[in-house]
């Protein structure tokens, strides 16, 4: 057990600063991920998430501040840090010209496994990620979901203590996304510490023990998903009329009673509006009865992370800021985020 320091925070950064020319990507970021937990780094495209991960993965040097992984400084002890981490995401990719098997064997060999151990490890991982049938095919023939799974498998060859997942589900269909989530949960239950960056609030809500909300290179809020939702202080009233014909009548009435403009979700036939704690719900119910509007559902819930994010940053999670657009072009990734986010996913 000798080499590793006993630390409570597997990942820790203090005052991390990184500039690219005139753009400040990180403006003094403090992060901490407890050993064995998932830290969700939540922020819009270009908020600085990827820059933070690249520094923690020893791919970039910070201009100021420090970052430690399992107690080791990422600049001074880069080689040790590299022995502890696994990296997967938008930039670290697999070799498209090699088969799935050979990609994993190569990494195993680079990590010092013997030829036969590397083969066994590759076969194991391919089976676990359901890639056995495609194992012999070049990775360039894989679908997006398969490639992402291979990418994740590649980052696990060395059984990392700390795993960086940079937007692991961006662009995946819901089925593949659920699979990736399942794998992440599995890894964490096995003791791996995970740093997960995401612009999907639902993903952070589902997976992260702690969340750091980052915007324009600064951490603007930290806490558990529950704490963040509670700190926003507001609640959301959701009303579903029995008949869709009443949707606009419901919205009008709610606006009149509460004084805020409700959102109408036409497909789900639901009207939702933010209410201050302590609002008189019976009063609202009565108002519906008086007008003979029959309700199928009337529910009060805590604000979703998306709503929290909106109130913290003043903009929606997937809006791109100009600095972000610059950075994303630099990183060569597809600039536009896929519209895969489902706001009400947690209600399912």
């Amino acid at each position: 057990m000798g080499g590793m320091k006993d630390v409570t925070n597997a990942i820790e950064t203090r005052g991390l600063v990184k500039r690219f020319g005139k753009t400040t990507a990180l403006a003094g970021v403090d992060l901490a991920a407890r050993t064995g937990s998932v830290l969700g780094l939540l922020g819009p495209n270009g908020a600085g998430k990827t820059t933070a991960v690249r520094i923690l993965a020893t791919l970039l040097r910070p201009d100021d501040g420090e970052a430690r992984v399992c107690g080791y400084d990422v600049v001074r002890d880069a080689h040790r840090v590299r022995q502890l981490i696994g990296l997967t995401g938008q930039y670290a990719s697999v070799d498209e010209g090699l088969s799935g098997t050979n990609n994993l064997i190569m990494i195993g060999r680079l990590l010092g496994l013997s030829r036969s151990d590397a083969k066994t490890r590759a076969a194991d991982l391919l089976e676990r990620f359901e890639l056995t049938d495609a194992a012999g095919r070049p990775a360039k023939t894989y679908s997006g979901g398969m490639r992402r799974r291979l990418d994740l498998a590649a980052s696990l060859v060395g059984r990392p203590r700390v795993l960086y997942l940079d937007e692991p589900t961006t662009g995946l269909d819901p089925h593949s996304r659920n699979e990736v989530w399942g794998m992440i949960r599995q890894l964490v239950s096995d003791g791996t510490t995970v740093l997960l960056t995401t612009q999907y609030l639902e993903e952070a809500d589902q997976l992260a023990h702690d969340i750091a909300v980052i915007d324009h290179g600064s951490v603007i809020a930290t806490g558990t998903p529950e704490e963040l939702k509670a700190s926003a202080g507001r609640q959301v009233l959701e009303v579903t009329p029995a008949s869709r014909a009443d949707l606009s009548a419901v919205a009008d009435l709610l606006e009149q009673l509460i004084g805020a403009t409700p959102a109408i979700a036409v497909e789900s036939g639901q009207v939702s509006v933010q209410v201050e704690p302590g609002s008189s719900l019976p009063h609202i119910v009565h108002a519906f009865e008086d007008r003979s509007i029959e309700l199928a559902e009337f529910a009060l819930r805590r604000a979703s992370l998306d709503e929290v994010f909106l109130s913290l940053t003043g903009h929606r999670a997937e809006e791109e800021t100009p600095a972000e657009a610059e950075e994303s072009t630099k990183a060569g990734k597809a600039a536009a985020a896929t519209p895969a986010r489902e706001l009400d996913g947690s209600a399912r």
């Binding site: 020893t58 670290a92 990494i107 680079l110 399942g182 096995d190 791996t192």
Partner: protein, 273 residues
């Protein structure tokens, strides 16, 4: 997904502060294995490597042979060493294209986040390319013999000829390695590569004698390293005085290596920090 566990992270043995030299060498060979594997699994690359020398031999021998030397057989004896040089020099572009592709696709970032020495991917790409040169030399000589080329010297001289080619190709590949690190796309490397390589390869005496060329071109062809190399190969494979040409082409190879290898390594270090 199966529900089997991924196995907990292995207990960490004492972590090394730096990679050892032994592991650095092993890693370079692993990455060389990778680039050889890519030749095998990429049909275009493999075809290019195998068919290019064959195509050059057929075209040059039958198109120019009669006109330049009076008979195709006579021309083949004179041109095969040159075509050998041409094929191998073209094959040196591979290193640069692969480096550039690795950097732009993010494969490099994966390598850099692994606990391996920084120069292993560069060394691996270049080691792997030596295999390309062997293939290229083998195909050119083999097909040349099928077309009627005959060695007129000793086996030792022929082996020396092949080693000289390898040495020259090894030196040349550093130019493309430098480009590969500096230029953003593999296509860019190819474009610049051909712009540099065409005058070098064709402004020489590899295909025809230089005495009908205009003076300035003769002057260029005379000092062109490719001419020296072709002369050396001709002497080593078909006879004639070899010493001067061998010495000059070796000097050129050393010169190219001494200039471009440090630049390539410096550019590579900058790119990977």
């Amino acid at each position: 997904m199966t529900t089997a566990t991924f196995a907990a992270p292995a207990p960490v043995p004492a972590l090394a502060r730096r990679p050892s030299l032994a592991s650095a060498v092993a890693n370079s060979f692993t990455l060389a294995w990778r680039s050889v594997l890519k030749i095998k699994t990429n049909p275009e690359d493999l075809f290019g490597l195998l068919l290019q020398p064959i195509m050059y031999l057929i075209l040059f021998t039958y198109v120019f042979g009669g006109a330049i030397a009076g008979s195709t057989h006579k021309y083949l004896q004179q041109s095969l060493p040159g075509i050998l040089v041409l094929s191998v020099v073209f094959a040196t572009l591979g290193t640069g294209m692969m480096l550039s592709q690795d950097i732009s696709t993010g494969v490099f970032d994966r390598f850099r986040a692994l606990p391996i020495v920084r120069w292993a991917p560069l060394a691996g790409a270049i080691l792997g390319d030596l295999v390309r040169y062997v293939i290229s030399i083998g195909v050119s000589l083999g097909f040349g013999v099928i077309l009627g080329f005959r060695f007129q010297t000793s086996a030792l001289a022929a082996v020396m000829g092949c080693l000289l080619l390898m040495a020259f190709a090894f030196a040349m590949c550093w130019i493309w390695a430098m480009l590969g690190v500096l230029v953003k796309s593999a296509q860019g490397v190819q474009l610049y590569g051909f712009l540099l390589m065409f005058p070098l390869v064709f402004g020489s005496d590899i295909l025809t004698k230089t005495n009908t060329m205009p003076g300035w071109l003769q002057a260029f062809a005379k000092v062109n390293p490719v001419s020296y190399l072709a002369d050396a190969e001709r002497a080593l494979l078909t006879g004639g005085p070899a010493a001067t040409a061998v010495e000059r082409s070796l000097l050129w190879a050393i010169g190219i290596f001494v200039v471009f290898a440090p630049i390539a390594v410096a550019a590579y270090r900058r790119r990977t920090t």
